[in-house]
């Protein structure tokens, strides 16, 4: 059993299902908060020297041999070659969350690699990469997948501490703040639980000094959270059978839920179509099983069942193929 630090724990939740090769708005929201998690982790580990209301960080901390590589990547640009830097906790958190894209990418790779080395994170192909438009233009799409057991352990421990009466640890206070700022609350708590969590946060704010210091700080950017919320809502709506039908006709609404795979020949029969789908899935490294053959085969790809419906799309020339639609209810 691996003991993870706060930033690693939060990264396991924040990086899960994120595009691993490209910088998306949603991933940027996660990375900003992961950078802030590093500051909180350092704060909890008493790396800062506290003077009145300021937290001072000395440059020599970067020369320590046992410093975590991801921590060094965040702290180094904040020190700016100075001997020391100082500010309130809010100042440090905001500075870390506003690091440039190149710093955030470097940080992402470092922390993802450290988790990959312990088999806690892996990169898997995304089905969208099989779509005609992506495949023919050479765009590969891969995503992060956190180790299910470790993800569950982190999430359930958090739920247990927050939803149960009694003391709450500092790590949990920091995690709940990070989840709020990254817009990940809905991933871990149901609508009913969110009300309890809100009440618990109020209670913590009144009783706990760390919660009092951290909860009022805002590092999220409204526009990014709004985009994240919109994309989340769009994907959720497409799970309704009616919306799924609309998405079949207008896949541009949510392409990830309506993947088109082109076939080699026009008017090919069901078997040939299935062979072409198989070939595309194999070339992109997907694990799949054909559950049912026939005119509309059922294929289980990465644990989700899809219907492969024959379709032709029309651009300059008609292109025949199949559209993969998630089968609902599963």
């Amino acid at each position: 059993m691996t003991e993870l630090k706060l930033a690693q724990n939060f990264s396991m939740i924040a990086l899960n299902a994120q595009n691993s090769l490209h910088m998306t708005t949603v991933k940027k929201v996660a990375l900003r908060c992961m950078a802030a998690a590093v500051i909180l982790e350092a704060y909890l580990d008493s790396i800062f020297t506290q003077t009145e209301d300021k937290l001072i960080l000395h440059n020599d901390i970067l020369d320590q041999t046992n410093i975590m590589p991801y921590r060094k990547i965040i702290l180094k640009p904040l020190l700016h070659k100075n001997d020391e830097a100082g500010g309130k906790l809010e100042w440090w958190l905001k500075k870390a969350s506003m690091l440039s894209n190149s710093h955030l990418i470097k940080f992402e790779h470092t922390i993802a690699n450290s988790l990959k080395q312990t088999d806690l994170l892996q990169e898997i192909p995304n089905l969208l990469g099989c779509d005609l438009y992506y495949n023919s233009s050479g765009v590969t799409i891969r995503e992060y997948r956190s180790n299910v057991q470790e993800y569950t352990r982190i999430a359930e421990n958090l739920r247990a501490e927050l939803l149960e009466d009694g003391a709450v640890t500092d790590e949990t206070i920091c995690m709940i703040w990070l989840l709020r700022e990254s817009g990940c609350m809905h991933d871990l708590f149901s609508q009913n639980e969110l009300e309890k969590v809100a009440a618990r946060m109020d209670q913590l704010y009144q009783r706990d000094s760390l919660a009092k210091a951290v909860f009022p700080i805002r590092i999220h950017r409204g526009i990014e959270i709004a985009i994240k919320g919109f994309l989340h809502m769009k994907k959720k709506i497409m799970k309704i059978p009616f919306a799924s039908g609309v998405n079949f006709a207008f896949p541009v609404l949510e392409r990830s839920q309506s993947v088109f795979i082109d076939t080699e020949a026009w008017f090919s029969n069901a078997d040939k179509r299935l062979d072409d789908v198989r070939a595309r899935l194999e070339s992109n490294g997907h694990a799949f099983t054909v559950l049912q053959e026939g005119q509309i085969p059922l294929i289980k790809i990465d644990n989700i069942v899809y219907m492969a419906i024959p379709q032709a799309i029309y651009s300059r020339v008609p292109i025949h193929g199949v559209r993969l639609l998630p089968k609902r209810p599963i």
Binding site: N157, A167, E171, D208
Partner: protein, 87 residues
Amino acid sequence: MSRQRSMETILTSDFISIGELVRLTNCRYSTLKFYTEENMLPFEQAEEKLTRRYKREETVARILLIKKLKIDGLSIPQIKEILNKDK
């Protein structure tokens, strides 16, 4: 302010919280809460609204037994009966 206890400390403690039980057994919080409410997992609580404390060794052994009985195909009422006999 209180820090999260390391796994090493948890493994040497006599009493642990439900969150620590989650970390030790890989069970879901809702599952453990259900077992607790069904009186399948005994706990101690100094006062209402304070942390429920579980005896580590005894509770972990119980959870493992419940898991095994579930794999054997027993229902929750049957498992409760077996646990009550063991008391």
